[in-house]
Structure formats: structure tokens, C-alpha cells
């Protein structure tokens, strides 16, 4: 019991600490790919600390909602991230929520972020919010459809069970799984506002989505939101890894050795995924905002196809 709680706590802390590092790593790789030196790996931590120290500049007519939102976003994202198996499944609280809940938690984070974007009443906030909800309105169903096909396959929406099932030999190679993987990657890109959907590095207002919403934030509030964004990327990476690369996962309560293996495996997966992301981002260009629906629509279709193909390719 205590050990379980300890593992759970370790997991929660680890995601919190790992997230900025992951971002730093991605940036570093991207910089290297374009032959730049790039900032150091721990730059994100420095940014966060600096933001914490700075004073907050609040717009005149910002309401209480504007000040509460960062904490809500952070909390929702953190809880969601903590519920995804990283190096071990069957954690103490994993049964409090399943995959659907995780998706919904991220949804609520986005809900409040969009509201905060509209709170100040500048046109940028509204612009960002409206684009964000448009993207979400396509990304969320796609994500849920992916969840469906996984759940229909594994007979559960419980992540630990899904991971265990995917790890088991009875899965085999399936068309629908491939489609789900692709769809999930596309959704992850959109959700994390990465190229080609959105550019985390830009500050040209007319092209941004995510940055436009948080344009008014500063200081500690901004730090919270940034941290939540880092967490989100980590969350999706661990989600993909634990569903589609479920090897080396510790199945719970099998001693420190397997835990260590799990952790090591986890780190490897993250590294691979991060490099892949960096390569992809440097390879493609950002697309116009109104091309995004097509991008996500493709994801939606893929997910739906994957779900339907389940019944056809069941025999495989």
C-alpha cells in the first residue's frame, strides 16, 4: 500500500520534473538539425524560474477567472499526466479515471484556457480562443474514436488494462492499430500546438492560436501555463509510448528491479519520440489555419476507419 503510494507519488513528481527537460531536449535537437547551437537542455527550467520571479502585469478589466485559470489548467493537466502510466501500470490511483477521463481533463483545461483568452477582451484573445475550440472540436472526437478502437480491441478503457493487452502477444499486427497510431500522432501534434498546426515559437499574432490565447499572461501565471504545456507534451508522448510501445512497463508491485527497467525503457521511448518530433517539425512547414480542419478531418477519418476496420480485421 505504502509502496504503491510511493510509486504513485514518484510518478507524479517525475512527470513534473521531466516535462521541461523534454521540451529542452526537443528544442536542442531542432536547433542542431538546422545547424544551430541551440539553448542548453535546462533552459526551460531557467525560463520558468525567471517567470516566477517577475511581477504580473494584469490587464485592467481582467476578472478573477483570468487569475484562477492558470492554476486550474496546471492542475487538470498534471492530474491527467499523473494518470498515464509512464514506467509502471496499475498504479494506486489509476482506476480513478480511464482514458476517456484523461481526454476530458485535457478538454477542461482547454475550456478554461479559451475562456481566459476571451476575458481581457482583446481581439487576439478571441481569435486564439475561437481557433482553439475549432481545432479541439475536431481533435477531441478523433481522440475519442481512437480510444474507442483501443477499447473495443482491449475490451476496456482502463489504461493499465489496455497497456497490458497491447503488451500481450494476442494483439498481432492490425491495420486498424496502425491507423489509430497515425491518427493519434496527428491529434497529439494538434493538441500540443506543434508545427504544422501551430508554431510554439512564433509571436506573429495573426498566425498563432495557442500563443494568442495566453498573450495577456505574464509572470507566475505564464509560468504555470507554460509548465502545463510542457506537461501536456510529455503526457501525449507517454500515452503513445504506453499504448503503442508497451514494452518494459512494470506491471505493478514487482519490485524495484522491474521498476528500474521500466524507467529506463520509458526514458528511451521519450528520447526516440522527441527526436522524431524534432525531425518532423523541421521537415514540414506550418499550414494555414483553415487547412488545419482538413488535417484533423483526416485524423478523424483515420480514427473512424480504424474503429470500423476492427470488425473486418478481427480475424487477423
Amino acid at each position: 500500500m505504502i509502496a504503491q503510494l510511493a510509486v504513485q507519488g514518484a510518478q507524479m513528481l517525475s512527470v513534473l520534473l521531466l516535462a521541461p527537460l523534454l521540451i529542452g531536449f526537443v528544442r536542442k535537437v531542432k536547433a542542431r538539425l538546422v545547424r544551430r547551437q541551440g539553448p542548453s537542455l535546462i533552459q526551460p527550467y531557467r525560463d520558468l524560474v525567471r517567470l516566477m520571479r517577475k511581477e504580473v502585469v494584469l490587464a485592467d478589466n481582467a476578472s478573477w477567472l483570468f487569475r484562477v485559470t492558470p492554476y486550474l489548467i496546471f492542475a487538470a493537466t498534471w492530474v491527467a499526466a499523473a494518470l498515464v502510466p509512464t514506467f509502471a501500470t496499475g498504479l494506486e490511483f489509476s482506476w480513478t479515471a480511464d482514458l476517456i477521463v484523461i481526454v476530458a481533463l485535457l478538454g477542461s483545461a482547454r475550456f478554461f484556457q479559451a475562456l481566459a483568452g476571451m476575458d481581457v477582451g482583446t481581439s487576439f484573445g478571441g481569435l486564439g480562443a475561437s481557433r482553439e475550440v475549432m481545432i479541439a472540436s475536431l481533435a477531441e472526437p478523433a481522440m475519442l474514436l481512437i480510444v474507442f478502437s483501443l477499447a473495443l480491441l482491449a475490451g476496456a478503457t482502463q489504461l493499465s488494462t489496455v497497456a497490458a493487452f497491447m503488451g500481450s502477444p494476442q494483439v498481432g499486427l492490425r491495420v486498424s492499430l496502425g491507423m489509430s497510431l497515425i491518427a493519434m500522432v496527428m491529434v497529439a501534434i494538434a493538441e500540443n500546438a506543434r508545427i504544422p498546426v501551430d508554431n510554439p515559437a512564433t509571436h506573429l499574432e495573426l498566425t498563432m492560436v495557442h500563443e494568442a490565447m495566453i498573450l495577456e499572461y505574464s509572470g507566475r501565471h505564464l509560468a504555470m501555463i507554460e509548465l502545463a504545456t510542457f506537461l501536456k507534451l510529455l503526457l501525449y508522448m507517454s500515452l503513445i509510448s504506453c499504448v503503442f510501445l508497451p514494452w518494459g512497463l512494470d506491471s505493478g508491485g514487482t519490485g524495484p528491479k522491474s521498476l528500474a527497467i521500466g524507467a529506463a525503457a520509458y526514458l528511451c521511448k521519450l528520447t526516440v519520440l522527441a527526436i522524431l518530433l524534432a525531425v518532423f517539425e523541421t521537415a514540414v512547414a506550418k499550414m494555414r489555419v483553415f487547412r488545419v480542419p482538413d488535417f484533423l478531418g483526416a485524423a478523424l477519418m483515420l480514427a473512424l476507419l480504424g474503429t470500423l476496420l476492427l470488425f473486418v480485421s478481427r480475424s487477423l
Binding site: 479515471a97 476575458d119 482502463q158 507566475r220
Partner: protein, 671 residues
């Protein structure tokens, strides 16, 4: 236990008495308080009785009055289903009356509201209690009539008159459909008692006809696409607390009618019946929420979102039908419970949201979101509870909307066990539709709250707004609390629903309150589980932890400044995003097929001074496809037939003569 029903019947009687009293005394100043106070007490008593019955689970009770159809009598019966819907109705009634105590004072013409309000409540209660076709239809139509009178309360407004007209015509269309359905169920002998119908199972064809007729009849009242046309007109036209009743409660009564006939009276369903209901439900959900997204009238937006929720409920009812038809009672119980749970939840947050809209209306006199904004500073409490309503209806954890939608999804995940390939493939597709509608709902209510309460004031009316009276605030606060409670303690609701599901689908969901940490487990923990309470606790803890650390270790410095305008300072409030512009991206994505919408930009030549213009045209497809042809046909027929009014006497004689000749010819050719 047979004393329950007479006791419950005293309720509607008391309502009617109140209505008569109100009609007599409606001009008095105190009338408002008296009427709403009376209804508050009555529906509270009814609520307590029904809840007691639901919790105590003493089985059925029935009573027959020597009224109504002579040889049948007015039969009333209380079973789990009726008890549950009585709870829904009277919970709504109680809180609405509470709200009315404050809101009613702003009513300009109380004598057009007060008499009909109790009558409306009485009608809804009677529908739920009725146990024979005649009393059911009588109460049903009485309910429509009373609500029509309430829609016509502000009759000087042309739009309201039109709304009332369309509403009542559609209502009686629905009643006719129900009438035919009951005619089929009753058979030539005319056995109109539900008990008799229950035993006599109609043939497959008749059963199908009944199902279709019920979809038409109950669906038109509940607002299924394409029978929804009246709903967004009529619900907003009424005074806001009545809108809340109509949207939050009356649609549920319609659902009760559907469930009562299809699940109870009709006997074993055919598997394809599930298909029909599922599909209609999914389509309704998506189209309803898309319409809501395009709205800029707050109350109309809410009405459209009602259509969406009805779609969700119907979809899961269809799921329950499919499972029931295939002999999967446990899955059926899951889907059915999800539907009923969502019924309860929707009655909570939809009433809450309409109350909020009413508060905004009283405070600013505006329903048009384009003239609102920044109300969060003016109406702090209202905006807070409205926010809770928005979060709940957007199905975000840990609130109640999510709990029921989660159950629906769990039910969808049982679909692989269905034998029919059609269902196997269709159920996940419908699941996709529901997911889409959920995501769009979130977008819609970001817009609703953001445009109305956030940002800067778009009109002077907002700057003069003040927080509304305590009664209204109390009512809204209570509902907000319910939204949270039902969200974090869903197990309690699910267990109390077992009384309803057991007799109707022959199974109940496993006991939830026994689960550790009050989490809910539809099938097995290894498959899926959700614990609203813990999620709530976690979020609060981690949020407050973060806040604590921040305030402990980071800087507290805070400076107010003007918002960053990209170098362009003091932008006018009109520069904010409006409701329409907010919906524009989604309109570009979905508008094409949903509204056949087209955007045309008129860009002036470079150097020209006139502004660029964006013209958006959208069509209500359902209206143009289904309603305009009918009205057109009627117009044509009347035009043609009307000539017969202007004939000469000789022509009329000719008509008589020809008719005589025809009849004689018929006779001559008679074998």
C-alpha cells in the same frame, strides 16, 4: 401503499386550485408571491413523496378516478419510472418556483403568467402519473396548452405570436401521432387502459408503426430533428423561468412518454428499432449543437443545446433498445441508466442556464449576446453559477454532465457483443457523432460564457446592470450545487435508478455505493471505472498546492496595465470578437453541409474608402426541406379550393346535380 397515488393526485389538484385562484386574484400585488409560494410548497411535497417512493422501492401503486373516459375511468399509477420522472418534474418545479418568487416580480403582465404556470406544472405531473391512454393524452395536451398560453404571455410581440402558433400546431401534430399509436395499441375493442395494452402484444408490423408514431409524437415534443422547428422559437419566447421548465422539464416529460410506450407497453422490441432511434439521436445531437453554435441570442442558443442533449438521450435509449432486443439486459441496463442519468443532469444544468439567461435579461434587458459582455464584473454570483452550468453541460469532469456522458460511452463500448453487423458498425459511428457533439458543446458554451460574461461591455445596458435578487440567486446556487454533487457522487444516482431499470429492461447496474472510494464501475474495474470525487479532490489539491507554492516562493508583485493591443491602444469594445465571429471557424468547417452557408467578401479597391463587407448567408435546411413544402402545398390547395366560395348559384346547383348523377350512376353500376 395505495395511499401514495391519491396523495400524489392531490398535488395536481392543488396546482389547479392555485391556477384558479391566480386567475381570480392575478391583479393583486401579492399574487406573484402567493402563487409561486404555493407552487413551491406543493411541488416540494410531491418531490418528497416521489423521492421517498423511489428510494423506498415499495413496488407499484395505482388508483382509478371516475373521470375521463367513462368505461375506462381516469387511471393513475406510480411505479419506478413515474416516480423518477416525478422527481425530475417536481425538482424542477420547486426550484423554478423559488426562482419565480424573485423573477416573477419583473413580469409586466402577471395575469398572463400566473394562472397558467401552476396549470402547466399540474399537466406535467398528470402525464407522468396517467395510466390510460385518454388521461395520458388529455394531460399531455393540457400541458401543451398551458405552455402555449405561457408562450403567448408577451403576445404583443409578433415573433412570440408566430412562435406560439407553430408550437401549438406542432404539438397537436404530435398528439395526433400519439393518438394513432394508442389507437393501434388499444385495438378495435378500445381497451385504453395501459395495463390492458401491456398484456396485449401487437404484431411486428403494428409494433413498428407504433414505434414510428411515437418517434413522431414524443419526438416532436422533445425536439428531435427534423421535428424541432418549433422548439428554438417557443422556448425562448416564454418568460425565462418558464423557458427553463419547458426546456429542462417538459422535454423530459416527452421522453417519459416515449419510454413508457416503447419500453413498457410495446413489449419486446425488434433490433432495427434500436437502429432507427440511435441514428436519429446522433443526427439530432450534432445538428442541434451546430445550430446552437451559430446563435447569438442567448436563450435560443440554450434551446438549441436542449435539442443536442435530447439527441444524446435518444441515442442511448436506442442503444438500450438494441441491447434489450438482443437479450443483453446488463448492457441495456447500462445504456438505459445512462439515458435517465442524463435526463436528470440536463434538467439541472439547463434550468440553471436558463435562469442565468433570465437573470441577464432582468439585469440588462438584453438577450442578444452581441450587446452583452463583461458581465462577470457586474453579476459576480450569477456569472459564477452560470460558469458551473456551462462546465457541466460541456461534459467536463468532475461535473455531472461528464458522468452521464461517460456512462453513455461505456454503453457504446459494449457494442461488439451485438450480433447484428449493422449495429456493430453503426454504434461506434454514432459514438463518434456523440463525441463530436460533446466537443462542439464545449466550444458552444465557451462562446456563450465568454461573449456574455467576459471581455468588455458592448452596450450601456451592461454598465448599468446590477446583481439580481436573492431568490433567483438561491435557486441558481442550489442547481449549481446539484450539478457538482451529481458529478462527484454518481454512484448514488445510479443506484437509485435501479428501481426504474429493473422492471423495464429486466436487469440493473451493479451496486455502486459499495465500491471503494465511491467510484463507479459499470462492468468491472479492470475494464473501466471513474471516480468523480477523487478527480475533484485531486484537482483541488494540486491546484491549491500549486497556488501555495507559487505564493510561498514566487513573487507576489502585481501591476494593472492596459491590455496589449499590438501597439494599437484603447481599442473600442466593438473590436472584440463577437458571437458570430467566434463561431466563424467552425462555421467554415461544418456550415457547408449543415446550413449550406456561404460567405462572400466584398473587398473595396485599394485606396477606396468604403469598408470591406463580409456577407454570410445560412439556411435552416430542416425548415426548407420539410416545412416550406408543406406550407406551400397548403397555400396552393387553399388558393385553388377558395374559388368554390365565389361560384354563381347556378354553378352550385350544377355541383349538387352532378353529385346526384354520380351517386345514381354508382347505384346503377352497383352489383
Amino acid at each position: 401503499m395505495n395511499s401514495t397515488v391519491p396523495l400524489l393526485l392531490c398535488g395536481p389538484a392543488a396546482f389547479l386550485a392555485t391556477a384558479i385562484m391566480a386567475a381570480a386574484a392575478s391583479r393583486l400585488a401579492a399574487a406573484t408571491r402567493l402563487v409561486y409560494g404555493a407552487t413551491l410548497v406543493i411541488s416540494a411535497v410531491l418531490l418528497a413523496t416521489a423521492a421517498g417512493h423511489l428510494a423506498g422501492n415499495p413496488g407499484e401503486a395505482s388508483a382509478t378516478l371516475p373521470l375521463g373516459l367513462p368505461w375506462t375511468g381516469a387511471r393513475f399509477r406510480l411505479d419506478g419510472l413515474s416516480a423518477f420522472f416525478l422527481v425530475v418534474v417536481n425538482l424542477g418545479g420547486t426550484i423554478t418556483s423559488l426562482y419565480g418568487l424573485g423573477y416573477g416580480r419583473h413580469e409586466s403582465q402577471p395575469h398572463r403568467v400566473l394562472p397558467f404556470y401552476p396549470a402547466f406544472l399540474a399537466g406535467m405531473n398528470l402525464v407522468v402519473l396517467a395510466n390510460d391512454a385518454f388521461s395520458f393524452l388529455l394531460s399531455w395536451e393540457f400541458m401543451s396548452l398551458a405552455s402555449w398560453a405561457l408562450v403567448m404571455a408577451h403576445h404583443r410581440d409578433e415573433a412570440n405570436r408566430r412562435a406560439g402558433y407553430i408550437y401549438l400546431v406542432m404539438a397537436s401534430f404530435g398528439t395526433m401521432a400519439l393518438l394513432l399509436a394508442f389507437g393501434l395499441l388499444a385495438g378495435p375493442a378500445g381497451t385504453y387502459a395501459f395495463d390492458a395494452m401491456r398484456t396485449a402484444h401487437p404484431g411486428p408490423f403494428a409494433a413498428g408503426a407504433v414505434l414510428v408514431l411515437m418517434l413522431l409524437g414524443a419526438g416532436s415534443k422533445a425536439g428531435l430533428v427534423p421535428l424541432h422547428a418549433w422548439l428554438p422559437l417557443a422556448h425562448p419566447a416564454a418568460p425565462s423561468h418558464v423557458s427553463a421548465l419547458m426546456s429542462g422539464i417538459m422535454t423530459k416529460v416527452a421522453l417519459y412518454g416515449f419510454v413508457r410506450v416503447v419500453f413498457d407497453l410495446l413489449g419486446e422490441p425488434a433490433w432495427w428499432s434500436g437502429v432507427a432511434v440511435l441514428l436519429i439521436g446522433g443526427v439530432t445531437a450534432v445538428l442541434g449543437i451546430l445550430h446552437a453554435l451559430m446563435e447569438k441570442d442567448l436563450k435560443r442558443l440554450l434551446a438549441y443545446s436542449t435539442i443536442e442533449n435530447i439527441g444524446v438521450i435518444f441515442a442511448s435509449l436506442g442503444l438500450a433498445l438494441a441491447f434489450k432486443a438482443n437479450g443483453m439486459p446488463s448492457a441495456a441496463a447500462l445504456a438505459f441508466t445512462a439515458a435517465l442519468f442524463h435526463v436528470l443532469n440536463h434538467s439541472f444544468f439547463k434550468s440553471l442556464l436558463f435562469f442565468g439567461a433570465g437573470a441577464v435579461l432582468t439585469a440588462t434587458g438584453e438577450r442578444d449576446m452581441e450587446k452583452l459582455g463583461g458581465l462577470i464584473h457586474r453579476l459576480p454570483v450569477t456569472s459564477f453559477v452560470f460558469l458551473i452550468g456551462c462546465v457541466s453541460i460541456s461534459a467536463l469532469p468532475p461535473f455531472n454532465g461528464f458522468a452521464s456522458e461517460w456512462l453513455v460511452f461505456q454503453a457504446i463500448l459494449r457494442s461488439p457483443e451485438l450480433p447484428q453487423w449493422g449495429l456493430k458498425v453503426m454504434v461506434p459511428a454514432v459514438g463518434g457523432m456523440l463525441a463530436l457533439s460533446a466537443a462542439l458543446a464545449a466550444a458552444c458554451f465557451v462562446k456563450a460564457f465568454g461573449i456574455t460574461f467576459l471581455g468588455r461591455a458592448r452596450s450601456v445596458a451592461v454598465e448599468r446592470a446590477h446583481e439580481v435578487d436573492r431568490w433567483s440567486l438561491a435557486a441558481m446556487a442550489v442547481l449549481a450545487a446539484f450539478c457538482l454533487l451529481a458529478g462527484i457522487l454518481p454512484g448514488f444516482v445510479i443506484d437509485s435508478l435501479s428501481t426504474v431499470t429493473l422492471p423495464l429492461v429486466g436487469e440493473r447496474m451493479p451496486v455502486q455505493m459499495a465500491q471503494p472510494w465511491l467510484s463507479i464501475v459499470p462492468i468491472a474495474e479492470s475494464r473501466s471505472s471513474y471516480n468523480g470525487l477523487l478527480v475533484f479532490v485531486f484537482i483541488t489539491i494540486s491546484a491549491s498546492l500549486a497556488a501555495f507554492f507559487i505564493h510561498r516562493f514566487a513573487s507576489h508583485a502585481l501591476r494593472r496595465g492596459i491590455a496589449w493591443g499590438c501597439g494599437f491602444t484603447d481599442a473600442v469594445p466593438a473590436a472584440q470578437y463577437t458571437a458570430v465571429s467566434f463561431a466563424q471557424p467552425i462555421r467554415r468547417v461544418f456550415g457547408g453541409f449543415a446550413f449550406r452557408s456561404r460567405e462572400t467578401v466584398k473587398m473595396p479597391a485599394p485606396g477606396a474608402l468604403e469598408p470591406a463587407r463580409l456577407k454570410v448567408e445560412m439556411h435552416d435546411v430542416a425548415w426548407e426541406v420539410f416545412y416550406q413544402p408543406i406550407t406551400g402545398a397548403i397555400g396552393f390547395a387553399t388558393e385553388r379550393l377558395n374559388q368554390l366560395q365565389f361560384l354563381t348559384i347556378r354553378r352550385y346547383l350544377t355541383l349538387v346535380f352532378l353529385y346526384l348523377i354520380i351517386l345514381l350512376l354508382v347505384l346503377a353500376l352497383w352489383p
